[in-house]
Amino acid sequence: MNKEIYTKPFFKGNPITVLVLGICSSLAVTVQLKGALVMALSVTIVTACSSLILSLLRNTIPSRVRIIVQLVVVAMFVILIDQVLKAFAYDTSKMLSVYIGLIITNCIIMGRIEAFALGNKPWPSFVDGACNGLGYGMILIIVAFFRELLGSGTLFGLQVIPASWYLENGGWYMNNGLMILPPMALILLGCVVWIQRSIQKDLQEK
C-alpha cells in the first residue's frame, strides 16, 4: 500500500488548508478545545467508517443512485454519533448543537468517498478516510488552541493564564473578545495556510 495515504492528508493534501473543504465547521466549533476535539473524532469516525462500508459496496452500487447511497450511509453514521453523544456526553452535545448533524454536509466525507473509496480496496479506503479526518482534526485543534488560550485564557476549560494577570485583579492582561467570534477563526485559518504555503513552495500560484 502506498505510504502517501498516511502522510498526505496531514500536510501536502490537508483537507482544510489545501483542499479548502470543511471550512464552515472549522469556524463554528473551534471556540474551545473540547468541542474541537469531539468534532475531530466524530468526523474521523464518520469518514473512516463510511469510506470502509462504501468501499465494500463499491461494485454493487447502481451508478445512477450512487450519491444517494453514499448519503444514506454517511447520514447513518452521523445520526449514530449524535445519539451516542446525547446519551453519554450531553454537555458536549449541547455545546456542539447542530454542528454534529451538519457533519453530513461536510465536503471532506463525500469528497473522499467519491475520489478514493469508490475506486479502492476497503482497507486503504478506511485508512484514507481516517487520515483525512485526523488531518482535518489537526487544523481544528491548532485553531481552537489559539482561540481558547487568547479568547478565554483557558485550555480544555482549565485556567492557564494566571488570574493575577487580569486587569480586574490589578494586573495588565485582558482576554481578546474577538477570538471568541467566528471571524477570528477565519483569520487564524488564513495564518495557518500562509505558514504552510511559505514552507511548501509548490502550493504557491505563479
Binding site: 451508478s63 445512477r64 447511497v69 444514506v72 445519539q83 450531553y90 471568541i180
Partner: protein, 266 residues
Amino acid sequence: MNTNSNTYTVIYTTVLVVIVAAVLAFASSALKQRQDDNVALAKMKTIMLAANYGQNADGSADKNADFMKLYNDHIVNTLVLDAEGNVVEGVDAFRDVDLKTQFSNLKKGQSVNLPVYQCKMDDGRIVDIVAMYGAGLWGAIWGYVAVEPDGETLCGAIFDHASETPGLGAKIAEPAFYTQFRGKKLSASGEFSSVTVINGGAHGSENGVDAISGATMTSKAVSESLEQWLGAYKAYFTNRTSAQKQEQPCCCCDEAECAENTESNE
C-alpha cells in the same frame, strides 16, 4: 449482473434503506432512556441553581453537586397554574409543561399552564421557583426565578440561552449577571411589578439589575420576558403576599439570609 437495471436499483435502495432504518431504530431505542435522563437532569440542575443550591461561592454551578439528589430532597411539591392563579389538575409541572408552547400561548393570550416548583429551603421555608421563556436576540432564552414565601422578594434566578452572542449576550448565563437578582423586590410603590434589567446601571434600585454592556438587546429580552411571565404569575404571588401578611406581620426574608443558605449548602 447488470447493476444499472431499474429493478436492481429499486431493490438495492430498498434493502439499504431498510437496513439503515433498522440500525437507527435499534440505536434510538437503546439510548432513549439515557438521553431522557440527561435532559431531565439538566432541567433539575437549572431549577436547583435558581434556588441557589449546588452553587460555588461565586454563584457558578458546582461540578460535583448531585442535582438529582438536591432536586428530590428539596422540591416538595410542584403545581401547575392558569393565568388566574388557580391550580390546574392532572398536569405534571416537570414532565408535561413545555415552556416554548406556553410562551406562544401566553403571547396569543390563550390559556396557559404555568409551572411552579415549591422548594423547601434548609430553614424550612418554602420558596416558589417559577419559569420564564422568551425570545432573545438570536434564539430562545429561558430561566427560573425563585421567589421567597412573601411572594415579592427574589431568592435567586438563573438564565440560559440557545444562541446569544458569545462574550456579550451569552453573559446572561454567567454568575455575575444572575446573582444580581438575589434579594430584589417584585413590587414598586406597593404595586406588583417585575424586576427590570436597566441599561446604564441599576444604582442599587430595589427592583432593577444592571444590564450587560454591549448586549442591549439580550438584556432587554430578559427584562421583557420576566415582565411577561411574572405578570402571568401575578395572581399567585399576590395571594401569597396577602396570606403571608395575615399569618405573620413581620417578614424576615432578606438577602443576607438567602446568602447564608447558599453558604450552608457547600
